[in-house]
């Protein structure tokens, strides 16, 4: 069998242009359902009425501000690309990345604080709510690491000045995901605060 | 040796099959036909087969009804069971003709409208009237079934109120056995918890609880008085089980960590049921109906339904928990 190629049609680029963002949105929907399943598990478990309250560590509050700031910084990056000012774009994306890393650090500090105060993730001293608080935050960080990887890619591309006003699709997809992660964290933060803590 | 012979035979069959297919294809080609095109004759033949299939299917259905329907569970031995059996019957009166008619129409159309080169198919793409009709018809039937079903369901699931005369029995499932505990004279079950399991106290009854002292624990078989509401409380010590009383049309899962409830009123004694079923050895049974491990298929307990006097006599012979 001979291989036939379609001449003169660069359809792959066109498909990418049309579908990158929708793909990201559908991915976000499935992640929402994943966390939706877990948070409804928290609510169903609470129906048993055996929940004690746990004090939320302060560094989770810091995390919240960190991630909001990082989203803002990323947005500034996109605006400056559109305006053609690469220097600001580079700095903004770099700041976003650093804030993202800082977020992971504050999460870690939060877990340490929880552990110190006798809230354990597993074992016979753990309770369902203590397991859930670790699990939900950790799963969010797992998803955030994906976001950090995409940020690194975006940073490299910004450094190489690959983006422009009409060619910033990769950055837009990455920014969508990053905003989503921020929103997800804020949801989890308040959810945990008002159900478990 | 056997294996080799079988293998050779299989290979030969495959080769022969391939050759036959090739020949058939070439023959069709030489006649100027395409082997994958369905001729009018072939379509007619398959259409007739469709009709034959439907008739045999119905004959098969009738044959099964004659030979196997008699094996169904005997008449319900509980009050609510008579009610649900009636509704089941009503549902069958609705679904059996539906099943026969729609299948019949399907296969009849296949026979009637099989391919003919002279006929034109009718271009008929939608009809609001027809569609409205077959949306409404099932909806009406369903309304009846839902309303009747829900009223039965709520009656069955309502626990027996305290002031009604009844007995309370706790059934505990564990791999692969059942234990029954009667609430005793105070009609209250004592507390129990898995952490209290020790030696003969196999279901973890709390010996310090006043209510537990007159509780009676039985294994192997348990008895019920006829006509008396029985409130069952279910527990499980290890995995999920399901307490299934087929003759009483009753079932409830046993879930570790929580208790579940079900109640029914037995109406037919074991003796009477032996006469009804014409079977001297008939026994009511409780079986496990939720996969629970290797011996799941043999997790059973006998139930004896008898007169109040016989029941009282039997219960008096059973030891209380503290004894």
């Amino acid at each position: 069998m001979t291989t036939v190629t379609v001449e003169n049609i660069n359809y792959k680029e066109e498909i990418r242009r049309k579908t990158s963002k929708p793909l990201m949105w559908m991915g976000i929907v499935s992640i929402i359902m994943f966390f939706g399943g877990l948070t409804s598990a928290v609510i169903v478990s609470q129906g048993g009425g055996s929940f004690l309250s746990i004090e939320m560590p302060f560094s989770f509050t810091i995390s919240t501000f960190v991630i909001i700031l990082s989203s803002l910084a990323f947005h500034v990056g996109l605006i400056s690309i559109n305006k053609g000012s690469y220097t600001i774009a580079k700095i903004s994306v770099l700041i976003t990345l650093l804030l993202g890393c800082l977020f992971v650090v504050t999460q870690y500090m939060g877990w340490v604080a929880l552990y110190e105060s006798g809230v354990y993730a597993t074992g016979n001293q753990s309770t369902q709510e203590s397991s859930f608080i670790y699990l939900l935050t950790a799963l969010h960080v797992v998803h955030l690491i994906g976001g950090l990887v995409s940020l690194i890619v975006v940073l490299v591309k910004t450094m190489k000045q690959k983006y422009s006003l009409d060619n910033s699709l990769g950055m837009q997809v990455s920014i969508t995901y990053w905003h989503f992660l921020g929103g997800l964290w804020i949801f989890l933060f308040f959810f945990l605060r008002y159900t478990i803590a | 040796m056997m294996t080799i012979i079988v293998a050779v035979a299989v290979i030969l069959v495959i080769i022969a099959g391939s050759q036959l297919l090739k020949i058939a294809e070439l023959r069709a080609q030489s006649k100027g036909e395409l082997i994958y095109e369905v001729s009018e004759k072939e379509a007619k033949f398959q259409g007739i087969l469709m009709l034959v299939f439907f008739i045999s299917f119905m004959a098969f259905f009738a044959w099964q009804m004659c030979s196997w329907y008699g094996l169904r569970l005997p008449v319900s031995a509980s009050v609510h069971g008579v009610d649900t059996d009636w509704l089941t019957g009503l549902t069958y009166i609705i679904i059996t003709p539906t099943f026969i008619l729609t299948n019949g129409i399907l296969f009849f159309f296949c026979y009637k409208y099989s391919y003919s080169s002279t006929r034109k198919a009718t271009f008929f793409s939608h009809s609001n009237k027809l569609e409205a009709a077959w949306t409404t018809a099932p909806a009406l039937v369903l309304t009846v079934l839902i309303l009747y079903g829900l009223s039965s369901w709520n009656a069955i699931m309502t626990p027996i109120p305290d002031e009604t005369d009844h007995i309370t029995i706790e059934l505990t499932g564990q791999q692969f056995t059942w234990t029954a505990r009667y609430a005793g004279e105070d009609k209250k079950l004592g507390r129990s918890h898995v952490t209290l399991i020790e030696g003969v106290n196999a279901t973890g009854v709390d010996a310090d609880d006043e209510n537990a002292k007159d509780d009676k624990i039985v294994k192997g078989e348990f008895h019920l008085p006829i006509g008396m509401p029985v409130q069952f409380v279910f527990r499980s010590l290890d995995v999920l089980h399901s307490a299934y009383f087929p003759h009483f049309r009753s079932q409830m899962n046993c879930v570790p960590g929580i208790t579940t409830q079900f109640n029914f009123i037995p109406t037919i004694t074991t003796e009477e049921m032996r006469k009804i079923t014409n079977n001297e050895k008939f026994n009511y049974v409780l079986l496990c109906n939720k996969i629970c491990g290797a011996a799941h298929y043999n997790m059973q307990m006998d139930i004896v339904v008898e007169s109040q006097e016989d029941y009282d006599k039997w219960l008096a012979e059973q030891k209380t928990f503290v004894e």
């Binding site: 049309k18 499935s30 939706g36 409804s40 | 399907l106 296969f107 699931m157 791999q175």
Partner: protein, 593 residues
């Protein structure tokens, strides 16, 4: 030397790591069928035990080794086989095999796209699926055997190796395999949805989509919304099993000691599982219904009756499937009021299902039905959908469910309505689109033989199960011989087992036809069934991009079969009008005259 290297690379990227949707479709098809065949063999093995309990089959010991010591299957191996059969059939054959094959093949071809939204994610989807198949099969060979807690893997049974040996390494592999499977399924679904919404060709509005595409779209939406929840459920189970949390476990005394777990509830798992589990039924069924709609219309040379009603009823089914999961849990001690709500929503599903059936019947009415094997299997699907569907009225009604819950009545019901219907739809699809998949035709005679053996034996296997249910025989029993009341049932079981064995042999006819035709069947013309949809305008040979030159534009809905003008003549001389034919001046679209 260098050409040789190039050939190897070509081979690798054409057949193995292909990003072309048509090749990925074939990969899903072959992998799915192989898994399905294994699942079928497993069912035949445990049917031997059920038909002739305790009897020794020494022939089988040769094949099965320690699984069948002395030729007799042990109870825990029996449960392992039941579990693996269910898992393989539901997920690997009827979810990935069915959706993976036909969504991949037909979505780009029928909507007029050059490929999926992301060929790379599509390829990943297949390879995740492949890995998960391998892990699932590997679990058959680990210590303690494969997972044995039933395909629903309810904890605590699935969480405690003390309770059943299969809950050790076998269950771990099951969970890992299923997690990978879920990722695969999600990647596929994302792709399908985005492709359908964004890559339709000119003129292909949503109301001109073939019903297959509607079915695949709704299936993918169900998948994206429900599979992540199963992933969450599985994750919590992994934590309970391996890391000492207590999401599902509480107050358990097993093996002579009390476990540390407190506060969890197995009911939570059931809720999460069935929130996926019920939509999963329709993930399996909807593609089959879509395929059938297309085939019945094409082969009876008539427009599908009630195109919009068909879409509407599929949407209603898809929506309702999210609010009925509780009917699997009527007897878990749930609040009776909740039970009432679930009864209500469950029975509502009967309405759109009835609409679909009547629409199929009306489509056949006054048609001109060409009986290819695909048509036959589509008719078979309608029949099984009816026969299995009606008993749903008993099971969905909570008061009646009490007595038949978890008996063979349920086994009969869901095998007919979901198992048979879906596999019939899949067979129909394979026979119908084989020319598109392999560029060759399958043999009709063998296909017809395959159909008749399959439908006769399938009813022979599953219809009698209702009678076992009437007698109160529970499912998942290794043998019924421990209960005197079930002694007389052995006749039924022998009958069922014989039918099952013949059905297995019948499938060999299909596999022979499939393999032979793929390599030596007669060459296919471009449009062998005279279909209207776009895939038949694409060249027979496969290449990246699907169409030479421009993608054809679409001017009409896909069901203009046997359309006649006022004089009673076919409008364009033929009894079919491809979607690419522009509308005439006095013509209306969408089945209007």
């Amino acid at each position: 030397m260098s050409t040789h290297h190039h050939h190897a690379k070509d081979f690798l990227f054409t057949y193995i790591f292909s990003t072309d949707h048509k090749m990925i479709s074939k990969q899903f098809l072959v992998t799915g069928f192989l898994m399905g065949f294994l699942g079928l063999i497993m069912s035949t093995l445990f049917r031997l035990q059920l038909g002739w309990p305790g009897e020794s089959f020494e022939m089988i010991e040769m094949l099965m080794g320690s699984w069948q010591e002395g030729g007799v299957m042990s109870p825990d191996k029996y449960l392992a086989l039941v579990t693996m059969h269910g898992t393989i059939m539901v997920f690997f054959l009827l979810t990935a095999g069915l959706s993976g094959t036909f969504s991949n093949l037909l979505i780009p071809l029928q909507i007029g796209a050059r490929d999926m939204a992301s060929g790379f994610l599509n390829m990943l989807s297949y390879w995740f699926f492949f890995i998960s198949c391998m892990l699932m099969l590997a679990s058959l060979f680990v210590e303690g055997g494969a997972a044995s807690a039933g395909w629903t893997i309810y904890p605590p049974l699935s969480a405690l190796p003390e309770a059943i040996p299969g809950s050790g390494a076998g269950m771990t592999l099951w969970l890992v395999s299923m997690s990978i499977f879920i990722v695969s399924s999600l990647l596929g679904s994302l792709n399908y949805i985005v492709t359908i919404f964004n890559l339709r060709t000119k003129g292909m509005s949503m109301t001109r989509l073939p019903l297959t595409i509607w079915a695949f779209l709704l299936t993918a939406i169900l998948g994206v919304l429900s599979f992540p929840v199963l992933l969450a459920a599985a994750l919590l189970l992994v934590f309970d099993r391996s890391f000492g949390t207590s999401f599902y476990l509480s107050d358990i005394y097993i093996g002579g000691q009390v476990l540390d777990h407190t506060g969890g509830s197995p009911i939570l798992f059931e809720h999460l599982f069935w929130f996926l589990g019920h939509p999963e039924v329709y993930i399996v069924l909807l593609p089959a219904l879509g395929i059938t709609s297309e085939i019945i219309s094409t082969m009876s040379r008539k427009p599908i009756f009630g195109y919009r009603a068909m879409i509407g009823s599929m949407m209603a089914i898809a929506f309702l499937s999210f609010i009925v999961w509780g009917h699997h849990m009527f007897l878990t001690g749930m609040n009776p009021f909740l039970g009432s709500v679930f009864t209500f929503t469950t029975l509502l599903i009967a309405i759109p299902s009835a609409v679909k059936v009547f629409n199929y019947l009306t489509t056949l009415w006054k048609g001109n039905i060409v009986f290819t094997p695909a048509t036959m299997f589509s008719v078979g699907l309608v029949s099984t959908f009816i026969s299995g569907g009606v008993t749903g009225l008993i099971l969905g009604n909570s008061a009646l469910d009490i007595n038949v819950h978890d008996t063979y009545f349920v086994v009969g019901h869901f095998h007919i309505v979901m198992g048979l219907s879906a596999i019939f739809g899949m067979f129909a699809g394979v026979y119908h689109w084989f020319p598109k998949l392999f560029g060759r035709m399958m043999n009709n005679k063998l296909g017809n033989i395959h159909f008749w053996i399959t439908i006769v034996c399938a009813y022979g296997v599953f219809f009698p199960m209702h009678f076992l249910g009437f007698a109160g025989v529970p499912r998942r029993y290794y043998t019924n011989s421990e209960f005197p009341m079930f002694n007389e049932m052995i006749d039924i079981n022998v009958f069922i087992s014989i039918c099952a064995i013949i059905a297995l042999v019948g499938q060999l006819v299909f596999f022979f036809n499939f393999v032979y035709s793929a390599f030596r069947g007669p060459r296919a013309p471009q449009n062998p069934w005279k279909g209207n949809t776009l895939e038949w305008t694409a060249p027979v040979e496969h290449f990246h991009g699907n169409w030479y030159g421009e993608i054809p534009a679409v001017y009409r809905w896909p069901y203009d079969y046997s359309k006649v003008n006022a004089a009673g003549e076919y409008v364009y001389g033929e009894d079919y009008i491809p979607q690419t034919t522009p509308l005439g001046d006095d013509e209306k679209d969408g089945g209007e005259h």
